[in-house]
Symmetry: C2
Subunit: 701 residues, 2 copies
């Protein structure tokens, strides 16, 4: 095997290595920050151990699952081993394993740094807001750099080594399937702990958040790490890989048709520039002492976006690349920002929706739920229109000015553009749980009111910024999956030629007609998958939380002096961590399997047309449910905080109680089900793509 590397591939590898270097430098910087408080070290250690234990158990379970999946891939994909070329199956299986390992590593790196940065940020809060912010932010950035560096490196290596775009889909499927379970498992863990801790602590006993008497408090902090850091890292690793894979599948096939390698080169070029822009953004990130952390985070995003736009424009001009593609990628990034702003409108406490829901809280929890659900429903439309327009414009421009086949590639590049600054996004996102943890450590370490105030304001900035980053990831998932649908068609056509169903050069499938009843059947069934998938996860949280609440009650009843906070009464934190861990592991597999198996069933019943409909129904309803659940959840969270800030009667008023109900409902909405749907959509599409040969060979209709 001879490796040929183009200039752009070499550049991608160099930038990826640069990202690793940045991550390493930031890591060293964070570790070097002072830590002297004994109590913080103790509690921090407990969190670290809890997170590592969960991750180890989860990865052990997922390793078994992935091993089975790899064997099945080896036997059946892309075609049964006894029918096709054995080498293809080996490459696919290896790419799959490679994808799962990379994804797992991304989570592991995130956890390692986050559980150090939280302590540093907590301790720095005694000195001022700036050092505390910098520890939190740079901790998050380690994760951001590592994840995006490894996704760019992984994609480049797989393509260079195998020279086969199907292998890229296998790699992407490995990453997504691991992300699906990691996100679901982490999401169930974190919300089990959060909901139970709040329910017994805040609602029943009236003790503050993060009170060390609460046996679930460490589990809650562990949850922030395993759900919001590791899960989110795996999720965005997966989105990033999927968007690049979809674009490359199309680019390579266009290059075959039109000659040259310019299209594939553009994917690498823009992705590398995106990562480079993120590196610059991360390294220059700063905040003034006394400044606003939200402003600092948003400023980073805008700066990175601008750098990306300028650098890609220069590259397009200098290297004589294609302007319509540049346009598609830029429009993707712009629409991402617009979606983010719309999301912000529905979840920010200075805007009408949160204000109205807060007012409705005065009439009791039923009105909190009704109005919050309504605004969540409404919040879907700007994003749906935005994603639709971005796909439409990218397609039309690229198709008109570049020719046949470029329309779909334009959509794929729009997704790449939207995710170009993902390094920045992950850094901002991981900052959230780190400072959330830091706040807990400040409370448990008794670092004083000023430090608490500082970490409170850092924490609240994390919540606001999350809304914008979620907009990016939902939008990008939508565009990526549209592009993957194009990749699915390419795969089907390749397979049809291989199987002799159509002659070489002819297409078996050119699209999916809604009026074809198998397509329509797939559409209806596919649309039902995201709500059912969400329901399975939420019921998992529900069941698990009931178990944990019982355990917390037991400890408060049996451990003498715990309620009163006597120093000799120590809660058994590890029991709660154990319940959350075991429950999450038990509940995460069925939901993920359900999504994968229903894709296969629809494929074997209705064939490739039904699968096309299924994927489409899945995207459409998946986007709607992801947006509704994430936004309602964010809105309820901020409504509660707004009331707690003294509005509508403040803490312990009727409105506050109703607000807490809303927040408790919103927690699994926004942190378990909503964000898992993104990954579910990608997984379903990738399963369909790599199993397309099987559907062509065996189907009922």
């Amino acid at each position: 095997m001879e490796l040929e590397l183009s200039f752009y591939q070499v550049a991608s590898i160099v930038v990826a290595v640069l990202a690793f270097g940045t991550a390493f430098w930031l890591y060293k910087w964070v570790v070097k920050q002072p830590s002297s408080n004994q109590r913080i070290a103790e509690v921090g250690k407990l969190i670290q151990n809890g997170a590592n234990t969960f991750l180890a158990k989860e990865y052990r379970a997922l390793a078994r699952f992935s091993a089975v999946a790899a064997i099945l891939i080896l036997l059946f994909l892309p075609s049964p081993i006894w029918k096709g070329d054995v080498l293809n199956n080996v490459v696919m299986a290896l790419s799959y394993i490679f994808g799962t390992v990379f994804s797992a590593l991304a989570g592991k790196v995130g956890i390692s740094i986050a559980t150090i940065a939280n302590m540093k940020s907590a301790e720095a809060a005694t000195k001022g807001i700036k050092p505390s912010f910098m520890s939190g932010y740079r901790g998050g950035a380690v994760m951001g750099m590592a994840v995006v560096g490894s996704s760019l490196l992984g994609v480049t290596l797989v393509l260079v080594i195998t020279n086969d775009t199907s292998a890229l889909l296998g790699f992407s499927f490995g990453a997504s399937s691991l992300a699906l379970f990691a996100k679901a498992g982490g999401g169930i863990f974190t919300k089990t702990a959060d909901v139970s801790a709040d329910l017994v602590g805040k609602v029943e006993l009236g003790i503050p958040e993060d009170d060390p008497r609460n046996p679930a408090v460490i589990a809650d902090n562990v949850g922030d790490n395993v759900g919001d850091v590791a899960g989110m890292g795996a999720d965005l690793f997966d989105s990033n890989v999927a968007s690049m894979a979809a674009a490359l599948v199309m680019a390579v096939s266009l290059d075959k048709v039109y000659g040259g390698t310019i299209n594939a080169s553009m994917v690498f070029c823009y992705a590398a520039i995106g990562l480079l822009s993120s590196i610059i953004g991360v390294l220059t990130a700063n905040m003034r002492e006394g400044g606003s952390p939200t402003r600092a985070l948003n400023m980073n995003t805008y700066i990175t976006t601008a750098i990306y736009g300028i650098l890609t424009a220069i590259a397009t001009a200098v290297f004589n690349l294609k302007w319509p593609i540049w346009f598609a990628s830029t429009i993707g990034l712009l629409v991402g920002t617009i979606i983010g702003i719309a999301t912000d409108y529905f979840t920010d406490d200075s805007k009408k929706p949160v204000r109205m829901v807060a007012k409705a809280c005065e009439s009791g929890p039923a009105f909190t739920i009704l109005s919050g659900t309504s605004y969540g429903f409404m919040s879907t439309i700007p994003s749906m229109v935005g994603i639709g327009l971005s796909a439409l414009l990218s397609y039309v421009i690229c198709d008109r000015y570049l020719g046949d086949g470029y329309g779909m590639f334009g959509i794929a590049m729009s997704a790449v553009g939207m995710l170009s600054i993902v390094g920045m996004i992950i850094s901002n996102d991981a900052y959230g749980p780190i400072v959330d943890n830091a706040r807990g450590l400040v409370e448990m370490g008794n670092l004083g009111d000023k430090a608490l105030e500082i970490t409170d304001s850092l924490d609240s900035a994390g919540n606001t910024v999350k809304a914008i980053t979620k907009g990016f990831s939902v939008g990008a998932a939508g565009l990526t999956v549209i592009a993957l649908l194009g990749a699915f068609i390419s795969e089907v056509n390749l397979a049809a030629v291989d199987m002799g169903i159509v002659a070489a050069g002819e297409s078996y499938l050119s699209g999916f007609d809604i009026m074809n009843p198998t397509v329509f059947f797939g559409l209806l069934v596919g649309a039902a998958i995201p709500p059912v998938f969400s329901a399975m996860l939420m019921l998992g949280v529900d069941r698990n939380a009931q178990r944990m609440v019982a355990e917390i009650h037991r400890q408060f009843n049996e451990i003498i002096g715990l309620k009163e906070g006597k120093p000799e009464a120590v809660p058994e934190y590890d029991k709660c961590i154990e319940i959350a861990t075991n429950g999450a592991l038990k509940e995460l597999i069925p939901a993920g399997l359900f999504a994968i198996i229903s894709t296969l069933v629809v494929g074997f019943v209705g064939g490739v047309e039904a699968v096309g409909g299924f994927i489409t129904g899945n995207i459409v309803s998946g986007l709607i449910f992801a947006l509704y659940m994430s936004n309602s959840g964010g809105l309820w969270d901020n409504t509660k905080k707004y009331i707690e800030a003294g509005n509508h009667g403040g803490k312990n008023s009727v409105a506050h109680k109703a607000g807490v109900v809303g927040d408790t409902v919103g927690d699994p909405f926004k942190d378990t089900a909503g964000p898992s749907i993104n990954t579910q959509i990608t997984v379903v599409t990738l399963v369909a793509s790599i199993a397309s040969t099987l559907f062509l060979a065996f189907s009922l209709f």
Copy 2:
């Protein structure tokens, strides 16, 4: 103009007249039942006046709206009056008006009988369950017979007089647009009153349901009539007309292609047999003294279904009709029943979901909402798969055995089959609010505990049966709209030939390719409409209920002795009715207009392809949201009743309070937003069909 009537059209008119006769006989029977109680007559009169006042105001508003719509139709549809044949526009506008008038009449008839039957049923409850049941049931059946008779008559007359299937679509659009507003307006009225009465009465003051001291109690009873009777009647009138219209559009065009009139004949034949079966079912309906009312109602449905199956099979054999079409219609009816049974599983209190949610209530309202939402999400899958399978099987069988163009007609006939027993369904459905009202009258008239027990059991049967009938209407709406999508394509192709875009005999459009970016754009936008539409209605209820709660508080504070129930203290019932009326009228127009206008915007932006995607996205997400909201709502209602029956602590326990929160959230879900979505889907599709020429002529992409 010469009228030609086929045998089947004459038969349809005869059966329709038979249905009117039956309705008249039942009406006389109900009026003849004894009524002597002074107090019941008084309160009954209040309800009657309230309902009539609301209806008069609503119809006045809608008449203005319809007049504007009719003028717009006259000017622009099917094509601008200065471009096409003026006569076409006149026919379309007249058909539209005809549709609105018929639909309004259906609502009016329903209200008239329901506000008499409730008093009769209440008084009969002092004698036993059988006479009380019969009064309620036969009152409902008057409505059922009148609605279905007039829809069959209307469709037949429009086709016979105009001999133009576009006019049928205009008639159907008239019926749907009125139904949309009637359903939304009635839904907002009824839930405003229900939620407010419960919130102040049951939750704050702890007085029983239907207590005459509550100023909102009459408004609540009026609401049952205007929402559940008039709104539901308009809704099912509309579904029934739409399903026949869609089938006839396709049948007539098939008859043109293949010669003869057999296809159109079959539509009339099966529809007439469906109505005949319902007449037989309604007239033979009975229950034993001491029997179960649920059993009696369900038995009716099964008997009618069996009669329909047998009679249509005989007709198919005797008149030499087409067996594949018979198969399609029967499969529709069967799938309807299966969907009903699945719905029943998710909402019946003897099944797992209600039991689990009731248990979750012990942990507080957040868990009630989370688990109820989850089961609502899950409940979507059996129906989506059922509708998909029914469409797939009908299409495949008819396409394979009858030839080109028959597949879509098979789907349309599947919808006709599902709605064939709609006379029965409406009778069962209208029974519900009548006995609910009767229960209120028994309470307010002090007719004693035994009578209360009897009406309680009749009421609860109404709730259970509702689940099954809702399954039918959602399923039928799904199939009808798929068929209407076919009708939309026919309309576009006719228009394209007229406009000279393609040559006569050629097609401009044969389907909608998902990979076409304008189709995809439409798909994404269309999918966002149902949640936004639902949100607008729910926020309407929310705002309106807040106004009414304030009024109830005012009365309890200002009217001396009201709280204590002193006889001289009479609440001002009419104030509450006025608030509900004015609020409903204010809130109903924007939501309906939003759905209609967004269809037009998408059409003018993306053209007919985008509209095809838009309709599809609208159906898919519309079905999901209708199912989720109806089923979660029904589940919460029954959960509350299950707890009130003494489980998990019974009345006034923690679980009960949580159950009441669930029920309050569920009320607008299941009685305002959920069932309005059905109509919204139909309206959007019909708007698109009749405006297709405009989209062809003017569009951006």
